[in-house]
């Protein structure tokens, strides 16, 4: 048989296969600094190809009203997605990823449900394994949807970033889990689709109660996990629709997402179960650290004093955190570093792996401000040099330099690797207030005699420091 006479469905499947190869290469590329951007572009091209060939489906092409509705939905989606993705500030990147992930989970869940409705409306009773695939898709997709929504709300600081615990939490979780198990069995045995809708509702609840007790600093790891869930939900909808493209793409993301989640929790020195479940029963340690900080004294300084200290130092280490990003101070911090370097002071940045809100987030922000790559040092590279530094300048960071991670076994961040700012001769904190960091715990280093605090907006304070250094 000649290639030209291949049935259209085979041609379409072949192009789906090309798209699958593109996705694998895209993931591979994304793991290397050199090819990351090209990898992403390749992934986008593969997606466009696959979507374009989906329109060769005779059912879709000749569906009239349905086709129009689908096109309208796509145009609307693109009209919302492009400006949002282009205009949202780099600091809000984690929320944005959570948002896009959640809607994907929702879509996967809907696809499975609609297929079930469709089979029923045709009067067909689906095989047990098809029902099982639908249930899996609905369950995982919905958990990802509502879980991502809560993660988004936490990162946007619409609710507290602290672990949220309440009485009877474990009992409630057990009841919801048990109810889901029972529903799955009932749905499989009876084939009644009413159970699927109850399952949908319960899965949405499960996503919420699963995410609420997870502390704000751990939310990025959680998003990676939910990303992996959405991948699996997409794979499940691929099983439902007999579509290899969805199975492979979804599984790729599901499997790589699990590995990435482990890499990320490893970078924080935590195990995944510890991140997901540590809030249960740890209510006291999570909130107790805050008590009494009003009564303790801290040393505050003026930008002029600190400017002189910096100008006559030999080695200054800048430790940036999320506060720097929020204040949009990455450009001003570079000015300060340039002014110091011009005076012969050795300056470098110590980057904690989870500085900002996600691994690598701070690198992105500083790259945006054109900070030379050579001045950025990863935590492991920076720590041996901290004891020789005259000044550690902590700009809007807190948890990532909190010695409690080493000294206080009960602390929620115990075990997380930190940048050893406490080893420098002087520590300067640029802070907005005495409010604790994202993890919601107090920082002993703030009360250390060698620590000076400069309160105020990071950008203003840095600008004053630049002036003070130039005058010194």
């Amino acid at each position: 048989m000649m290639a030209a006479s291949l049935p259209l469905s085979t041609v379409r499947d072949l192009f789906y296969l090309v798209a699958v190869a593109g996705f694998i290469l895209a993931l591979k590329g994304l793991g290397s600094p050199k090819f990351a951007r090209r990898g992403n572009q390749l992934g986008a091209a593969a997606a466009v190809l696959a979507i374009a060939f989906t329109f060769t489906l005779p059912t879709l092409r000749h569906s009239g009203k349905n086709l129009v509705l689908a096109l309208v939905a796509m145009v609307l989606g693109a009209l919302v997605a492009v400006p949002v993705a282009r205009l949202v500030k780099m600091t809000a990147m984690p929320q944005l990823v959570a948002f896009f992930n959640g809607v994907g989970g929702g879509a996967a869940s809907l696809v499975s449900i609609i297929e079930l409705l469709h089979l029923h409306s045709l009067g067909l009773k689906p095989a047990v394994y098809v029902t099982a695939e639908v249930l899996l898709g609905v369950l995982i997709g919905s958990v990802s949807f509502s879980g991502s929504a809560i993660a988004f709300i936490k990162l946007q600081e619409l609710i507290t970033g602290r672990p949220i615990t309440y009485p009877g939490q474990q009992a409630i979780n057990a009841v919801v889990g048990l109810a889901i198990g029972v529903l799955v069995v009932l749905a499989l045995v009876t084939g009644n689709i009413a159970f699927v809708f109850v399952l949908l509702a319960l899965a949405l609840v499960l996503g919420v109660i699963f995410v609420l007790p997870i502390g704000g600093a751990d939310v990025p790891v959680l998003i990676s996990l939910l990303n992996s869930f959405t991948g699996l939900a997409v794979a499940a909808s691929g099983f439902v629709l007999d579509n290899n493209l969805l199975i492979v793409a979804g599984t790729l993301v599901g499997a790589s997402g699990i590995i990435l989640t482990r890499l990320m929790s490893g970078a924080m020195g935590r195990s995944l179960p510890n991140i997901l479940f540590s809030a249960f029963g740890a209510v006291i340690t999570a909130t107790g650290g805050e008590a009494g900080d009003a009564s303790r004294s801290v040393r505050t300084g003026t930008p002029e004093d600190v400017g002189v200290l910096l100008a006559y130092a030999r080695k200054v280490v800048i430790i940036p955190g999320y506060g720097l990003a929020v204040a949009q101070a990455q450009h001003t911090v570079r000015e300060l570093a340039d002014a110091l370097t011009a005076r012969g002071v050795e300056v470098f940045y110590a980057i904690h792996p989870v500085a900002g809100r996600m691994p690598g987030h701070m690198n992105v922000l500083l790259a945006e401000a054109n900070v030379p790559y050579e001045e950025l040092k990863e935590m492991d590279e920076a720590n041996p040099e901290m004891s020789t530094a005259d000044v550690a300048l902590v700009v809007g960071a807190n948890d990532t330099v909190n010695p409690a991670a080493i000294t206080t076994p009960g602390s929620p961040i115990y075990g997380m690797p930190i940048v050893h700012a406490d080893e420098a001769e002087n520590v300067i904190f640029l802070k907005r207030s005495m409010r604790p960091g994202f993890a919601g715990i107090d920082n002993e280093l703030l009360y250390d005699p060698k620590t000076t605090l400069l309160f105020g907006d990071a950008k203003d304070t840095l600008a004053k420091l630049v002036a003070a250094v130039k005058d010194a």
Partner: protein
Amino acid sequence: MIAQVSGTGIVEYLTVFVLAAFVGIEVVSKVPSILHTPLMSGSNAIHGIVLVGALTIMGEAHGTAQLVLGFLAVFLATLNVVGGFVVTDRMLEMFKGKPNERPPRKSETTDSGDPAP
């Protein structure tokens, strides 16, 4: 047509699933931490391909309920796939030429990368 009667296809699909899982694990086993965020965002975009599923289902949808849900599914999936790739590209734009393509780097040869005076 959709598999609704026999179980012939399921083993083949399971085979594909298992193989894809191994590929997924293999591909990301070594990623530098600075790329964790872009990788998460990029793989997030890839699962936006659920749009293909949403479109497929839209072609077969009958009745108001299925059409409304289908419309919603296509809309959400489009948000995921378009937004995901665009935002990842924006993130990676910042890494342009780094670190491997940067021409002159004084500290390239030293282990610490420390431009000590």
